[in-house]
Amino acid sequence: MLTRRGEAALAWLGAWGRAFRFAAGALAAAFTPALYNSATRTVVQKQIYFTAWQILATFTAFAAVLSLVIIQISVSTARDFGLSDYALEVVIRVLVLELLPLLTALFVALRSGAAINTEVALMNINNEIRALEAAGVDPMRFEFMPRVIGGTISVLALTALASLMALVLGYVTVYGLQGSSLPDFGRVMGKVFTIPILLGLWVKCLAFGVAVTVIPIVAGLDAPQKLFFAPIAVLRGMVRLFFVLMLIEVAALALTYI
């Protein structure tokens, strides 16, 4: 019993260790320009296209509706308590710093993360990865690293667009459709976004993007080469991804507010 527990714990640790090693490898590869070639670039482009461009309209609309609802609630509640001065600040903090990056990451995780997980698991099970290696194509360069780069860029792009939308909506809701309150808006922005906070936000989004791609890939690679393990690999990858996203968010919150 104890040995079994110990083995399970070791396996668990091993999985995380592989995930970290893989992430490090992928990032190292991403910053080695010599490893890029025409095929890698194409895969990166395709990944961005499938992860970001295809859902751009849907996701932006969804983010706009969500932002609008939260902005309205915050602004009217703040007005009731006589705290309208702080409404915009609260809205920016909640939406741009916390909610939208996390939602984007979750959205991409559900859509592309699951897809990547399945595809890598199937590639692994079908032995396609070894075939690529045998043909002299480094699967890290051809399949994995481009996905990590593409997925990360997609998360960053979607977050940036959703945040821009939320800021515009927040401005219009609080000040109305006119430009003369831009200095006031700027003052609130200046108060919320210190340089460390802005850099922290970028790092967090980057971490989200990397997690959303790396963890499904590692989960797919972890699957034993038997077809019935594909659903299990996807399930494990998705659960692990959820926890990692939450962990990043909590860590970011803790670093910001403690």
């Binding site: 070639n37 025409s38 590639m123 194509v137």
Partner: protein
């Protein structure tokens, strides 16, 4: 080749050989042309156009341009075999090893078919070995 163990030992003894094998599938989400072109893209850092051009010429010589844009699940056994063969061939390795052709070409009189195909492509490879079990030896014409 007497049995499976001997086959594995042989494969282990020739790690540099480019394999054509049932265990080395094509990449499922790429067309045949891309599957072939990707090898020089990585091995020789060619851009896609030049790599695809080279792959296309090979397909022409093998008489299989019709399957260039198909993907793995849509291929017939022969088309799949040719795709795998050309993928192994495209960077001109010293040895090409066709492993258990019976497994790749179940519906074909494969010794004769193989000979025709390899003759058509004779200019494009250095050496091609066919790895098959001893009990299939009578199928092959003596060279």
């Amino acid at each position: 080749m007497a049995d499976d163990a001997e086959r594995r030992a042989f494969l282990a003894g020739h790690p540099a050989a480019a394999l054509v094998s049932a265990e080395m599938p094509l990449r499922a989400n790429l067309s045949v042309l891309e599957n072939i072109a990707i090898v020089p893209q990585y091995r020789e850092n060619l851009d896609y156009d030049r790599a695809a051009h080279r792959a296309w010429k090979l397909l022409e010589r093998a008489g299989a341009t019709g399957c260039a844009l198909k993907r793995d699940p849509d291929l017939s056994f022969e088309e799949r075999f040719i795709a795998k063969l050309l993928r192994a061939m495209v960077t001109s390795p010293p040895i090409i090893l066709i492993e258990r052709p019976a497994l790749l070409l179940p519906d074909t009189d494969y010794p004769a078919w193989l000979e025709r195909t390899l003759d058509a492509l004779a200019a494009d490879f250095n050496q091609c070995w066919i790895l098959d079990y001893r009990w299939n030896e009578p199928l092959y014409a003596p060279r």
